[in-house]
């Protein structure tokens, strides 16, 4: 089958400052994990893919369309949903109102009721705070709302930017299980994550992003143990320490 998402020699950045220097990756039929040091372009890559910032060069194909120059809202309509890092969402709207906005894309409207049911099934906790403004929620709960908002958009591909950032370990496990459940229901994932265990649990195909380039790649089926990743991450010489 053709790839759901295919990125080819992508370059982008902010103003004149280039951040990405020719990144290529493809999802195949797998969940993709991105890792690497902070400030090396992972978030920029995700923002370029979802159309929030423009690519200066290269190509992005999603679901058979060349979406390189598309605005974010059209890409959303194709079924690519991006959960940004640490989103405040809409502080004064309630959970109920926020999820209703999640069903904004036209293609998601007919399945609004079903998607709502699914989101609530995955995150039953949200029902308890249904009519509370989002700003009163904890960081973990807000992350659940953010993922649910994306689920309301009926995604084919879900992009998660550091979903566990700043969360307590117990919440992390809960969130990981929930994301796994989403994946099992047929939604492909692109996940950026610092927690390698978490990443190994969710993704089959890993890319190391360094200096705005793909520095290494672990394909599905290749050995993906913690040790190997740490070595890639920190360089060979640090290997024995981990």
């Amino acid at each position: 089958m053709s790839d759901l998402l295919e990125v080819e020699a992508l370059e982008s950045g902010y103003g004149r400052i280039g951040i990405l220097h020719g990144i290529s990756l493809a999802t195949g039929g797998h969940n993709v994990g991105l890792f690497g040091p902070n400030g090396h372009g992972k978030t920029t890559l995700l923002r370029t893919i979802s159309g929030v910032i423009r690519a200066t060069r290269g190509k992005i194909r999603f679901a058979g369309e060349d979406v390189t120059a598309w605005p974010a809202r059209r890409i959303v309509e194709l079924g690519l949903l991006h959960v940004p890092q640490g989103s405040r969402l809409f502080p004064d709207l309630t959970i109920r109102e926020t999820l209703r906005l999640g069903a904004w894309p036209r293609r998601a409207r007919p399945r609004e009721a079903r998607n709502l049911e699914r989101a609530v099934a995955i995150f039953p906790r949200l029902k308890e705070r249904w009519n509370q403004p989002v700003k009163t929620l904890s960081g973990g709960e807000r992350q659940m709302v953010a993922i649910s908002v994306a689920l309301m958009g009926d995604p084919k591909l879900l992009i998660l930017d550091e979903p566990t950032l700043g969360l307590a370990p117990r919440l992390k496990d809960e969130l990981c299980a929930a994301i796994r459940q989403v994946s099992d229901e047929g939604v492909r994932l692109v996940v950026v994550e610092q927690d390698v265990e978490f990443l190994l649990d969710l993704a089959d195909h890993l890319y190391l992003v360094n200096h705005g380039e793909i520095a290494a790649e672990i394909r599905p089926g290749e050995s993906m143990n913690h040790q190997a990743i740490m070595e890639m991450y920190f360089g060979r010489e640090l290997g024995p320490l981990t």
Partner: protein, 294 residues
Amino acid sequence: MTVLGQILLSALFQGSLYAMMAVGLALVWTTIGVFNFCHGVLMTLGAYLAWQFVDPEALGLPMFVALPLALLVVAAIGFALQALLIRPFIGRGDVVLVAVITTLAASSILKNGTLLVWGPRPKSIPPLAPDTIALGASNVSAHQLAIIAITPVVLGLVWLFLNRTRVGLALRAVAQNEDACQLVGMNVTALYALAFGLAAALAALAGIFFGGFKFMSPDMGTEPLTKALVVVIFGGIANITGPILAAYIIGLFEAVSIYYVGFYWTPALLFAVLIVVLMVRPEGLFARSSRGLA
């Protein structure tokens, strides 16, 4: 009618006009984050276009066609103004400042454009309801009563729109987090245009209210804009319920002050109270700290 009755009637009437103007200003501020100094002249345009459509000397359309038509045309003008005066500057650090001067300049253009098109001769449009109604011992103009009755209905509809419809929710959302709005697939530009258009239509409705009991002039929007500014300062610009409440409170304050203190001192007194209120509560009397509609 008793003194109390007169004061209350005047308070409700003025309060309705102020509320109708102020809500549009607050709507634009909360969604786009700029202050629209064209708001007064949009009101003027609403009144003049209504005259153009309804007056027998001009097009002579029936009221129920002419008034919605005027609102629509002004909303379209609002759309266009937003695209020309605000949109190009969004994202710049000084957008608030630049928008002040571009909307001021546009307001000057439109005011003088009105003079150019319709001339300086005072005009008036027919009142919404022509008769007077006996209330107790005295007669009250039915137009005034109609305004007092219609305003809460219109503002209630605006409130319902912002709180119960998906598009209304989106307008509130765009005020709070533009990035997140893009990521759920919203067209932020279109939402800005919608907010501006809706605000313009509300201003036009206020103009139609005015044109039914006062002579119209190209400058007629200046004073109501000033009052609407006072209302939003007083009520807080971070939502729309604050200005609505403030509009009626200021209507009441003025009615009481004019009766007991006198006509000439009332504006000075109003501004003095306003400044004291702002020193205590800079975000306005009813505002929460963050920007957000409803």
